[in-house]
Symmetry: C2
Subunit: 233 residues, 2 copies
Amino acid sequence: MEEHENSRCENCIIRQINSFKALKKEELKQMSDHKETRKVKKGEILFKEGERLSGVYCVRSGISKLSKLSDNGKDQIVKLAGKGEVLGQRSLITSEQTNLSATALEDMDVCYIPKNHIQESLMQNPVFTNTVLKRMASELKTADHTIVNMAQKSVRQRLARGLLYLGDSFGTDEDGFLYLQLSRSNLADIVGTATELLIRTLTKLKKEGAVSISGKRIKLEDKKLLYAIAEGI
Amino acid sequence: MEEHENSRCENCIIRQINSFKALKKEELKQMSDHKETRKVKKGEILFKEGERLSGVYCVRSGISKLSKLSDNGKDQIVKLAGKGEVLGQRSLITSEQTNLSATALEDMDVCYIPKNHIQESLMQNPVFTNTVLKRMASELKTADHTIVNMAQKSVRQRLARGLLYLGDSFGTDEDGFLYLQLSRSNLADIVGTATELLIRTLTKLKKEGAVSISGKRIKLEDKKLLYAIAEGI
DNA sequence: CGACGGTTTGACCAGTCTCAAATAAAGTGG
DNA sequence: CCACTTTATTTGAGACTGGTCAAACCGTCG
């Protein structure tokens, strides 16, 4: 029985945009033979903080949030991961439990890749290891940046930055609305505040003409203004 | 003229506690021949955010803060680096400017290692690369944790955690006082708050018997209590 | 229709920031 | 070593931001 082109890692377009592009043909072949494709529905959990993973997830389509529960019971979204991102890689590298939970914000297609393939390539393919290292170093940089934002900036500033980030990372639909439609509470969990305050702050931005809102959908009307707000008027 | 044992990387004890332990004898020899030892006085800056480094610093003694300036003009300390830490590695890996500034909090002895040695080893010694990768992954985990703390916890909670961190990382002197004596404003920059509020919060902790204070020196009197406070009473 | 979950609004309180001024400590030059 | 300058710490008061609770609202789905 013939496999479809798409289902082979060697032919997967996703590979072009993540560290897997550094893998050799032989490694990809191995990987492809043992991977499992999986569909994840919006709201489903890929893994929970504290779990031990036996592999990683490569996102083919859809968007997932990576979040961590604080002692006070609130979720903080640390990162959004879309097409091409590899989930679970960090904890695999340190052989620890995951420190974040991954939840689908949209229906997703992912590939599950058993960890031994990744680990072998890490040991034997220096180019791959270097690519992963670069990626990790780059994530660390943005994490440091986020720390400063969280510690030093107001909710208003963080919201402005968050909206710009959503626009840059996931784009807009034909009408200019943010492609990714987050619930208010998810948006609050990105900004790191309570839902109520998020709503009030968003409303202010609307009154000032920085954004417009239609139901769940948000449009960035004045990016310059948002940038100015984010940097602290 | 004979070199002292200590001045050779091959014999350096520091190496045992960082990624350089994964280097081969030959690499260490090369590195040692080209390194420069340097003394840095308290308050001096090793490098500033935005600079391009042509090497990394390996800390032999003393403690440095890694901080980032926010748009509002305030410094946020992202990390403290003591004996064995390698500064500037992240930006070297991504070939970018540094995203943090490094400032000595005490007199320091550091070794400056030109970047080409590190880069060569990253390309040619997979064990070394893997060690660096593990370290970076582990830093990313703590960074994620810090993000959540900054976003979700009160100044009181963050201070409690910060004090415990100082105790764990740098220990105490014979009287039980924190070894690292930070200025109030440095402490505030770790916690991510204004100096005034930091002082008030610290005073409260003292009244509650969690810490005692003598001048600049701080003693953790009741760690259990501090833990409880950090997790959110 | 009624129940449900997510959204919005109001009111209120607690937490945090800022400015200014008083005090203490640390340097500096004679 | 002292007198003086500068820097760090502490305290107070007031304004502002952000968090919480409760209730109203709305759209969806069974």
